[in-house]
Symmetry: C2
Subunit: 422 residues, 2 copies
């Protein structure tokens, strides 16, 4: 009981400090924020050995606790990964600063000028698992966008995260920014998360990064707005008027370029009129790649060795070398299937037909809708955001890859010369 | 128990219908939506007598139940108010359609073009009290922005709301739009609200309009995002470098032009150096207007008859002819006071000092921040939005007056020519 009380007090203390830091950060000029990012990058390079020592403590404990090899790999800090982390900080420093930008400033009939100014959200809470580089990435994006941040990494990475946090706070102090601009939660007690996601007086938004289970739990329990996506059941639809070569290339790349990512295709929809021209070749390429195919009866008739899909397959995010394939009657049927089964992450159509492309773009209600491009492009770097704090499949505030802009909000500004309302 | 089950089924039925309507509405062209709005306006004019008959039922029941005179007045439909409702619909028809607008469409190094398309949110749930004109206003804004809407008015206005809903649905049917585009909840059972604010599979956002109690309850119980403001504790700060004439005019107008509105000033902050030049005159004008003044000790010394403010006054939204006044040391002190007590709705500074104005605009973190203008301008019409569905003091998604744009979201669109990720 007293431990829980202490956790509450500890977390509230972080909240108070973060809010005070946010109040300073919101008006700090870009030069100073960029200087901090560059110093932090240098500190991370300078402390490479120390970071590896601390990381080893996490790895050893992880091995003792029997963590899976994949998780241990994600947890590991190597000289290359540490250098990449430092470069990531420098890249964020090089991005344009969104804060303070004024748009749509127009005179109104009353004589006042009304416009919008982009400003930080305030305090961002990040909850994430295993990969320690998130500590540096997330801190960089929040700092650049003028937000204070509270970082809660997984307990398996606690030593690594604290060592990275020490570099960050040294950098902040060196340029004269409040060290509470970036705080890492120092307890591995799980109650800290419960406290964090309900501290609505101190935290403006929560960004969870990790497995679906973590994100689901946080979304349902948080009393603070959450920027998130639960899963990516992405579709490619090959239209009757598709260029066959593009269709094969895009479908293959959308599935096979990487399996465990949220923007990989999980279901391929093919229009009836073109199925026999693309599916045998695609079936061959997928099988050669070792990808298990699960199709509707018509698909199975066209691809030797294709398994029969069950109803469940249409709503499954495999994150694995498995693909569901369905032959549909055409555009309307494809859109209906997507409406029913998509997780509203990313859908792509392959077609040379202008009117079909135009309808798909307008009517498919997902965070990214594409024509003749691989779903794998749904990514902050590829979209030109520079970096991303995550991807949102929600409709409010931020949708799709979320970069610096998604960590800001627009307030109205009004410039007058003594105007009053009559 | 069975009644509750029936309410649940009934509300879920509205949800299913709304979602189906939204799926059609999202791609309906402006012409058709505008035609519907104009026909609805005509139906409302044609049915003026019927609307007054139905409204009388509500008024009579309200009188029997002892509703306050102010509430009965808000509930009443007069020929003038009915005509205003019809004109409101026509004004929304005349606004530009935000849906489908594509922005920031740029080529990326990979050859894909990435941009954003503005699309409807989907289904909007509106929960409101007494004023039946909200039924028409809210329906118009949602329809124009391509959203289906479920409207839950107060039980005291049920006959009026249903009569207005009948006009709306006739108009929708006449132009061939689904009548489920606008649905009015036909039960006055309070369980309907509880059901509505947790139907996250069917409703994308809830907009509560009414008293603080209603909005607080809905915000804390909803599992759907809520666009709202709880209160408006707005400040005017008169700086040392203010033009005295503008200062007096703006402070007086911000408080006295109307009392019961969220953008009225509730606390006046005056810099020490100018207090003796503005407060005696302002005190005279406010007193003449019958406004009760509650000041800090220094204020009381300058205004005869000013009462001593208690700590509570700084965080009170009076919505009445009462004003709190505090003398502060200058800009920093004013910003600190605002940070502590403001509800982040609207704050205005009166100053001729360029640097002071620039700092106030950047550092005050409210939904509207003004220089030399009355806080009463914080309003969708005055800002040029044409109409507003409400005002948001939250930071995510929409902030300040919320018009058609706030009822939409941006999805990413990607145009390619066969690009794949390497």
């Amino acid at each position: 009981m007293s431990a829980v009380l202490n956790i509450k007090e500890y977390m509230q203390g972080l909240g108070v400090n973060a809010k005070a830091a946010a109040s300073i950060l919101k008006a700090v000029e870009s030069d100073k924020k960029n200087a901090a990012l560059i110093v932090i990058a240098q500190r991370i390079r300078d402390n490479k050995e120390q970071l590896i020592v601390e990381n080893k403590k996490d790895l050893e404990r992880g091995q003792m606790q029997g963590l899976e090899a994949a998780l241990l790999d994600r947890l590991a800090l190597t000289p290359t990964r540490i250098e990449a982390m430092a470069e990531g900080l420098e890249q964020v420093a090089a991005l344009p600063d969104p804060v303070g930008e004024i748009s749509d400033l127009n005179y109104r009939p009353s004589g006042i000028q009304v416009g919008k100014m982009r400003v930080p959200l305030g305090v961002v809470g990040i909850i994430y698992e295993s990969r320690p580089n998130v500590t540096a990435d997330a801190a960089a994006l929040c700092l650049k966008s003028g937000n204070a941040t509270i970082l809660r990494g997984g307990s398996e990475a606690i030593h690594s995260n604290q060592a990275i946090a020490a570099c960050i706070q040294e950098g902040l102090a060196e340029v004269g920014l409040p060290i509470a601009a970036v705080q890492v939660v120092e307890t591995t007690d799980r109650d800290a998360v419960g406290e964090m996601i309900t501290m609505s007086s101190y935290i403006d938004v929560i960004v969870p990064r990790g497995g679906k289970g973590l994100i689901q739990r946080i979304s349902s329990e948080a009393s603070i707005a959450v920027i998130k996506h639960l899963d990516g059941i992405c579709h490619v639809y090959i239209d009757d008027d598709a260029d066959i070569n593009k269709a094969v290339k895009i479908a293959f790349n959308s599935k096979a370029q990487r399996y465990g990512v949220c923007n990989a295709m999980e279901t391929l929809l093919v229009s009836e009129g073109i199925a026999k021209d693309v599916l045998p070749e695609l079936g061959r390429q997928f099988s050669q790649q070792g990808i298990e195919l699960r199709g509707c009866p018509k698909t199975c008739a066209l691809i030797p060795g294709c398994l029969r899909a069950s109803d469940e397959d249409w709503s499954t995010e495999y994150l694995a070398p498995i693909l569901a394939i369905k032959i549909v009657a055409g555009l309307d049927d494809a859109i209906t299937h997507i409406e029913q089964f998509s997780s509203a992450h990313t859908e792509s159509i392959v077609t040379e037909n202008y009117s079909v492309a135009r309808r798909f773009l307008r009517e498919v209600d997902s965070s990214s809708v594409m024509v003749n491009a691989s779903t794998r492009f749904a990514d902050g770097f590829e979209y030109g955001l520079g970096a991303e704090i995550g991807i949102s499949t929600d409709k409010l505030h931020a949708r799709g890859p979320v970069g610096l802009e998604g960590l800001t909000t627009l307030k109205y500004i009004v410039l007058g010369d003594g105007q009053i309302r009559t």
